[in-house]
């Protein structure tokens, strides 16, 4: 039953974005929005829908950091680790999050609600340290501020 639902989503996305090669990344991006990651089955289904090799889909997906091929949580936290954020206390923010969510960097909570990852420069160096939760940027973080932000997400 699951497979049919998966296929339907892929088909729907292909209808929306098209079935040529340049539609591949928009389809994969939307799949990640819907499911938080790309399963092997989904990638095979996309390949069939676009009439290209599954290896091409996998090869393309794994090239891009945001096209996760590993199971992720509903909320993916990406903390910027590049120099400005590192200088302005990124490690402190990281350990605060690890403590609150009881998970380590790279892990997903057992309820699949949160994943905690690092990112390269996300473009908020003047308001460091910064992080993304899914698409939303949060800047000028302090342990207090990040605690407040996470409390809101935990409630959701």
């Amino acid at each position: 039953m699951d497979t049919i639902i998966e296929n339907e989503l892929v088909r729907e996305l292909a209808n929306q974005h098209g079935r040529t090669r340049e539609s591949l990344i928009p389809i994969l991006q939307d799949l990640v929005v819907h499911k938080r990651f790309l399963s092997k089955q989904d990638m095979v289904d996309v390949a069939r829908e676009l009439n290209i090799s599954a290896a091409d889909v996998y090869g393309t997906a794994t090239f891009y950091t945001f096209l996760d091929t590993e199971l992720r949580g509903k909320y993916v936290i990406r903390i910027c680790k590049t120099i400005s954020c590192a200088m302005k206390g990124k490690n402190e923010i990281l350990s605060t999050i690890e403590e609150i969510l009881k998970l380590n960097l790279g892990e997903t909570t057992p309820d699949r609600k949160f994943s905690l990852l690092e990112a390269n420069c996300i473009g908020w160096c003047h308001k460091a340290p910064a992080m993304l939760i899914n698409d939303t940027p949060y800047t000028e973080l302090t342990p207090e501020k990040v605690t407040e932000i996470l409390r809101e997400y935990i409630k959701k």
């Binding site: 990344i25 945001f66 120099i83 420069c121 473009g123 160096c125």
Partner: protein
């Protein structure tokens, strides 16, 4: 501390009447647009500094019914965040610049390649695009813009990797030549410009090349938007006249204890205090896409170097060996020197490796790793070793 050392400018973020600019270019021949840009001496604001007018003319001279104009909004260089602000504040000027380019080269289709980290801008940009397309219809201009989103790959800011990405593939840079103006997106003649460059073309069309040239130096005309971060009381986005020395910049933006400025991000150059006065920020000195990071005496330059090498090791596309293996070996190498597993002479070997990468790598990523590496190691050798 006074602000008088560096001239502040307000061109980019000022609202402009884009309809006026469109009316003006409708009366111009495509080649006159290229000529005006050539006379302005505008150079690409993404960092590489290729003359914009020349780029447009090359594409205009190609005889192909299908051409593309691309706005490179894959702003990923560490320490750069001005393009996000430009797109957020004056999107209509970015679109207008693309329309000017489309008229100059004869393109009907434009793409904005926006980095995935800026996805939150998309609803606003789409709304603005609706208005823009209506304006295009009113002017009877057959030109449309689409937004394509990146997915967290720094290398896709490299123009040919960006084409690959729009085409739905891994963002692996292509061999050059052929250059994009001959064979770019989908193998068609393509002009690809940085966000900021496109906005300056609007200003040049509106006020003329002479006005643009009033600011700057012979090699670096006009002004530029800088992203300032690190140890500074004034972190943020500033449009400044080109031609200042690092010393003048530091007097305005430093915290009184600046020991080094990294100009141009991870792929740029590290300028130590003793070279502040002699170093000009611009194409005659150290070029920059706008990234200016200040470091005071409390900072370890080893940490900076390690952070950058870690960045490049992750972001190298892995396609060519000099870059893929080179980045890894530089990172392992400085770690080994720091631990004392290798003696200080080994750093010289690593500098040689960085030079080899500059010559042998396929694209700008691998070619520029040596910039930061060489300048940090040369100027802060003790900090790397001890």
């Amino acid at each position: 501390m006074s602000d008088t050392h560096v001239k502040r400018v307000d061109h980019i973020f000022k609202k402009a009447n884009c309809r006026e600019v469109l009316e003006k270019i409708m009366d111009m021949k495509p080649d006159d647009i290229c000529q005006e840009l050539l006379e302005s001496d505008l150079k690409g604001r993404g960092g590489a500094g290729f003359p914009t007018g020349l780029k447009w003319r090359f594409a205009a001279n190609e005889e192909d019914p299908v051409k593309y104009i691309i706005c490179n909004a894959d702003e990923g260089e560490p320490g750069t965040f001005k393009d996000r602000e430009i797109l957020d504040q004056v999107p209509e000027k970015v679109f207008c610049g693309m329309a000017v380019a489309s008229r100059a080269i004869g393109a009907k289709m434009g793409y904005i390649y926006l980095r995935g980290e800026y996805k939150f801008l998309i609803p606003m940009l789409n709304e603005e695009l609706l208005k823009f397309h209506k304006t295009m219809d009113e002017f009877n201009l057959n030109f449309r813009i689409q937004i394509r989103l990146g997915s967290g790959a720094y290398i896709c800011g490299e123009e040919s990797a960006l084409f690959e990405s729009i085409e739905g593939k891994r963002g692996e840079p292509r061999n050059k030549p052929p250059y994009p103006t001959k064979s770019g997106l989908f193998g068609k003649p393509t002009v690809i410009n940085n966000v900021e460059t496109l906005v300056y073309t609007v200003m040049i069309m509106r006020y003329g090349a002479a006005h643009f040239k009033e600011l700057g130096t012979k090699d670096s005309r006009g002004s530029k938007v800088f992203s300032v971060s690190g140890d500074t009381p004034k972190a943020g986005i500033f449009e400044l006249e080109l031609g200042m020395s690092v010393d003048e910049f530091v007097q305005d933006f430093g915290d009184g204890d600046t020991k080094a400025v990294q100009v141009g991000g991870a792929s740029g150059f590290c300028v130590p205090r003793k070279k502040f006065e002699e170093t000009i920020i611009g194409f005659e000195g150290v070029p920059t896409g706008g990234s200016m990071k200040l470091f005071n005496s409390t900072r370890s330059m080893y940490n900076l170097l390690h952070n950058y090498l870690d960045f490049f090791t992750e972001e190298s596309c892995g396609q060519c060996t000099p870059c893929r293996v080179g980045c890894q070996q530089l990172l392992k190498g400085v770690e080994a020197v720091k631990r004392g597993d290798k003696n200080s002479k080994y750093l010289e070997e690593l500098v040689k490796l960085a030079k080899t990468m500059k010559r042998a790598s396929k694209c700008g990523l691998g070619q520029s790793v040596g910039n930061a590496f060489g300048s940090i190691v040369e100027n802060f050798k003790e900090e790397i070793i001890y």
